[in-house]
Each structure stands twice: as C-alpha cells, then as structure tokens.
C-alpha cells in the first residue's frame, strides 16, 4: 500500500499523557467490521472521545480545539495489546503522521512503519519536556527530521535523536514498502521453500 513519503515534519502536536494506551482504546473491536482500510479515523479513540449517545466528551484532548497537528504524543507503552493494524490506520486516517512516546509495543510499532506513520521513541525525560512545552503553549511546534533522526522542540531548541533501522528509514523517505522488496526476491524464496521439511 503506497503511503506519503516522510522526510521532515514540522507540526503542532496533540498530547495524550496516558500510559499503556492499548489498541482497543485506539479503535474498539466493534469498529473493525469494515472490509476497506479507509474511514477508521472517525472512530479513533471512540470510547474516550464520545459518550454512549455519540456526543463528544468535552474533556478529551481530540475534542479540545486548542490542540491539533500531525503529531500524537502518547504516554509510556503506547499501542499495546491487539495486533489490529486498524489502530494504525485510524491514527493515519485522522491525520497523524507521527506518534511520539517513551516506549512502543512491538506490533503497533511495526504496523505503523508499514503504513507510513513514524513512531519516534524518546527518553521519559524528553517526553515530559514535550508534554510540559505543549501544556505551556499548545502552539508549540515539534520538528521530526527523519534523515537526521532527530526530534526538536522548536521553541526551546531542545533536541534528541531517535533510532530507526536503515532499511525502514530508506523505505519511509522514499514511500517504498516491504511487498515491493519481497516481490523482487521471489526466486530466492522459492528455492528456500523447496528445502522446507513442512
């Protein structure tokens, strides 16, 4: 699935300082019944965002107009639980292109990279700085520089570097995906398969 190329993203950010945000919160199971990948953004964080009668919960950050942007900043252990890629689709569909946290669950991280969302892992201290900066000024901009692998709080110039493997970085910068890569090596896979005992 082709996705937007990612190089440098400068944007305000939406803060969600809750730990262990699981993918059931990001997109509850009852909204997984579609057979297409578009449209999940409407139900992103559904049960935190809306009351049972579908009226918005005023105290949830996505309903607060002072916060916006293409970067979601979450608490420790973001994206735990179910492997549903729909969670990443919902985040992408809503308009986020980057999630920042001090720790990500494995499957969510992989799913994000596979669909063009950059997961940026920072230290717990730097995450606190980001939350404080946004709290002080919701217009605080963050700069995510993928080629340089840095995240910067623009107002203060505070910066940290983040990890990503070279293969995935190249893919994201160019908008390539793994299927293109795998299709190009089917001969090698066939030879491998022929030797399998199962």
């Amino acid at each position: 699935m082709a996705y937007d190329k990612f190089t440098v993203l400068t944007s305000t950010a939406v803060p969600l300082p809750i730990e262990n945000v699981d993918t059931d919160q990001i997109i509850p199971a009852r909204f997984l019944k579609a057979t297409k990948r578009e449209g999940f953004g409407d139900n992103l964080f559904r049960d935190w965002r809306y009351n049972g009668d579908d009226s918005p919960k005023q105290d949830f950050v996505l309903n607060n107009p002072i916060y916006s942007g293409k970067i979601l900043v979450g608490g420790h252990n973001f994206g735990s639980g179910s492997s549903r890629e729909h969670a990443a689709w919902a985040i992408y569909d809503y308009g986020f292109r980057c999630v920042v946290s001090s720790f990500f669950a494995d499957i969510f991280k992989g799913n994000s990279l596979n669909i063009g969302i950059l997961p940026v892992q920072v230290s717990p201290e730097f995450l606190d700085k980001i939350f404080l900066a946004i709290e002080a000024d919701p217009n605080t901009e963050l700069e995510i520089n993928l080629p340089e692998q840095t995240i910067t709080i623009l107002a203060t110039g505070e910066q940290q570097s983040f990890d990503i493997n070279g293969y995935k970085k190249h893919n994201m910068i160019n908008g390539f995906d793994d299927i293109d890569y795998l299709q190009a090596m089917k001969g090698e896979i066939k030879e491998f398969e022929a030797e399998r005992i199962y």
Partner: protein
C-alpha cells in the same frame, strides 16, 4: 556449523531466515499462516490492487471466529457488516484456493484452538496470523506471533515477512503448584511481576518443571498470554507430552514422515549454557489463584490480596487512578466478596476441553447464582463435542448453565456477546482493557476455576474453598 550453545528460539528462527538485510530486518519464511475474517479482507484488496497472487495457498488456513454469533449459527448472520466480512473470507479463500473452515463447518472454531487440535501446528514451525494471540502455538516449540494486515498481505504474496530478530528472555518456574492453581494463574502471576510491557522486544522461552509437568492445553494458555506482557511470543520446548498430543491428529505427519519429524523435533531444545538477554526465576509455591483488578493484564494479584496502593505499582498515579476509577474499585479493598454480574468461560486462552473440565469440577452439584449471567463458549466444534461426550454438558445443564456455539465471543465482544456498561465480568479471556468486553464493561481476568467459583456464588470467591 557453530558449536556455540544456542537457544530453542535461535534454532527455529535461524532455520527460517531467507535473507539478512544489513541494518534492517530478516526476510523471514513462514510455514503456516492462519487467517480470519477481520484482519484479512484488506490484505486481499491489496493483492488485487497490486495485481499479484497468493504464492503458496496450501500454507494458509482460514477459519471464521472473531465476529461469529455463538447462538443460532445455522441462521444467516444478522449483522450485515459481520456477514460481509464472513462472506469476504469465504470468497477470498475460494478465489485463491485456501482451505476455509467457515461458520457451520465441523472443524470451525477459534483459530488458535483449531490449529493445534487438527495437527496443523507442529514443533519447529514458524506460524503467523493477524491476531496477537498467535503466540498460543508456541506451546509446541514453534515460533508463533501476531502480525498486522500489511504483513498478512506479505505472507499471502511471498510467504515471508520482514522481521527484526527479537531479544531472548527465559522465564523459569520451578516447584509444585498448589491446590487450585492452574496454568492461567501461572501466566497472570508472571505478567503481574513483569508488567504489561516487561517483555516488549523479547521472545520468551518458558522453562522449568512447572511447564514440563503441564498439559498441552495448559502450555497453550501460558504461551497465549505472552503478548500481554509485551512479548511477541512465548515458546516451550517440545517433549513427550507434545509428541503424544500431536500423534494421530488429522493433519499431523504419519508413518515415515512422522519418524522424520520426530527426530527433528527432539533437537528442538535450548542447549546447556545458552545465553538469554534476560532471565527470570519464580517459585511455584508463591503462586495463588489469581485475579485482575485493573485495566491491563499486568494488574493482577493473588485472589486473597487487597488492591495495591498506587505507590506499590509501576507507572504513574494518574494512570493508576484512571484505571481503578473505571473499575469502580479503591486502593486496599479486598477482591473477595465483590459482586459479579457476568461470567465468561471460553476464548483462545481458556476455551479448550481441560478448561471446561476444570469449570465443571466446581460447578458439579452446585447451582449457578441467580445474579450471574454466564456465557459458556467452547473454542471449537471439536471441544463442543468433547464437552457433550464427557458428560460435562449434563453437569452444566443441571447447574443452570447453557452451552453456546464456538467463537471468540465476549473476549473481544465483536459479536452480540457484550457485557453491558458498568457490569462486572469474571472472564477466562486474556484482556481486561477498558471496553474490551463491551463499552463500559468491567473485566476481571481469572482461571476457569475462579470463574466457576464466581458463577456459583455470585461473588469473587477463592476456588480453593470449593474444591
């Protein structure tokens, strides 16, 4: 050939690397691929939009489980969206020549129950599915884990995924488990010690005499829950218990193939002196029947203990308070005696025959409490048949329980089996996340014995008092 001591995990992983990418993931070959109706349709759409096909259809197995009803399965599925997904699975499977055990098929059931019980899951395999509880199959000494839909598309089109090799962890539990302490309690105990993110980035091997003495059903329960501490998967070295379980199952190797496979399986164990990135040791005697009190599976403890204070647990106070507030619980309260509205026994965690035997051992001669609504949901039609053959159904019926039809059911509440808002459910499933079992539902994770004790008393009860 290196003579370096290696782990079970290394042996299986390294045997499946087609290509290593420098500063990147391994191209990792997948022996068995399970698909279900929820996480596969978009992968098939992807194949169509790229105009590519399925490379090895015989390596993929489809079963319908996530949003299937658990009553009246012979009637058309009422929810049009669910019906549409089920139809898509059927159509896509037929189009590409994939084996499909749909609703009503004699071998239909939860993907992680039907794989092992039909001999599709074997030691030394790599197994994936668009479902995080694929870790279940690690009980056979397979590397098994959940993947996203993009990866489902990769497996369909190339039988490979791109996967960085995880770090290695070993969790040893030695000693003798006490009365009323089951595999579910062992796993909830480990998760409570490691926390919900404690094994993120790792693949776990479970070792020690507790697992050596455990049945295959029990091992599946333990490996199933590996993801709940963040691990991609968990595995247990195959042994005589494993071989005896597999022997004779429908799709298991037979004759000469069996002998060859068995010889290979016997090499699948961690060598003496092999090194893990992290290792934990626990004593079986410290484990009580467990129950969770919060909104992630790491928030569990011995059933007789009081709910901890926020400063006694890892993580921030705000998150902890939010969790207890959702549950309607307070610090330092006892769990015993808390009133229960629902009991759910089933799921890929505890939906196998042994789980229903355990449940029936407490229910026998007692009656379901009037305040409790109970959903008893077998993991497959084969389990359902066993329940009937063994007389468990008679015990359940006598006590006022009804047996439903197989599926994931209230574990994730995609179908109509939803716990109402604010209600308490003792559940043998795997996740107590907010809203997991229905919007506003409050889940207490526990073993089949604890679930049975709650079902007959109407409150959280120590099952040891009823055994």
């Amino acid at each position: 050939m290196s003579n370096q001591a290696s782990t079970l995990f290394d042996k299986v992983w390294d045997a499946h690397v087609v290509r290593k990418i420098e500063d990147g993931p391994d191209v990792f070959f997948i022996d068995r691929h399970f698909i279900h109706e929820v996480t596969s349709p978009v992968a098939f759409l992807g194949l169509e939009s790229r105009n590519i096909g399925v490379m090895y259809a015989e390596r993929t197995f489809a079963t319908a489980d996530h949003n299937t009803p658990t009553i009246n399965q012979h009637l058309p599925v009422q929810d049009p969206l669910s019906a549409n997904q089920l139809k898509a699975l059927e159509t896509n499977s037929a189009k590409y020549g994939i084996s499909h055990w749909g609703l009503g098929h004699a071998r239909n059931g939860i993907v992680h129950v039907v794989g092992p019980e039909n001999g599709i899951t074997l030691p030394g395999m790599t197994i994936v599915c668009g479902d995080s509880h694929t870790s279940t199959h690690g009980a056979f000494g397979a590397i098994a884990f959940g993947i996203g839909t993009s990866e489902v598309e990769m497996v369909l089109s190339s039988q490979c995924i791109m996967q960085p090799k995880p770090k290695k962890m070993r969790v040893n539990v030695n000693g003798k488990l006490g009365k009323g302490v089951t595999p579910k309690d062992v796993t909830l105990y480990i998760i409570s010690k490691l926390t919900t993110a404690g094994a993120t980035g790792y693949f776990v091997e479970y070792a020690g005499d507790v697992f050596e003495n455990m049945s295959m059903e029990g091992r599946m329960t333990v490996c199933n829950m590996s993801i709940e501490m963040g691990a991609r998967g968990g595995m247990i070295a195959p042994d005589e218990t494993t071989f005896a379980y597999i022997n004779g199952r429908e799709q298991a190797p037979k004759g000469e193939k069996w002998d060859k496979a068995l010889a290979y399986w016997k090499t699948l164990k961690t060598d003496e002196g092999a090194v893990f990135d992290k290792e934990y040791n626990f004593d079986a005697a410290d484990i009580e029947p467990m129950i969770t009190y919060g909104t992630n599976p790491g928030m569990g403890q011995g059933i007789s203990k009081a709910i901890p204070f926020s400063d006694q647990v890892e993580g921030g106070k705000a998150t902890y308070d939010k969790s207890l507030n959702y549950m309607g619980f307070h610090e330092n309260e006892s769990m015993l005696g808390k009133k229960i509205d629902y009991v759910f026994i089933g799921s890929c965690t505890n939906g196998r025959i042994e789980d229903f035997r355990a449940f029936a051992s407490i229910v026998k001669g007692r009656k379901k409490a009037d305040n409790v609504t109970a959903w008893v949901v077998p993991g497959s039609h084969i389990v359902e048949a066993q329940i009937k053959e063994e007389g468990i159904l008679d015990i359940l019926t006598e006590a006022g329980f009804e047996l439903r039809q197989p599926g994931c059911s209230a574990c994730l509440a995609m179908n109509d089996d939803k716990i109402p808002a604010g209600k308490y459910a003792v559940s043998t499933s795997n996740r107590n996340f907010e809203g997991r079992q229905g919007p506003g539902a409050r889940t207490l994770l526990a073993s089949p014995l604890v679930a049975a004790a709650a079902a007959v008393t109407g409150v959280v009860t120590d099952p040891r008092d009823l055994l």
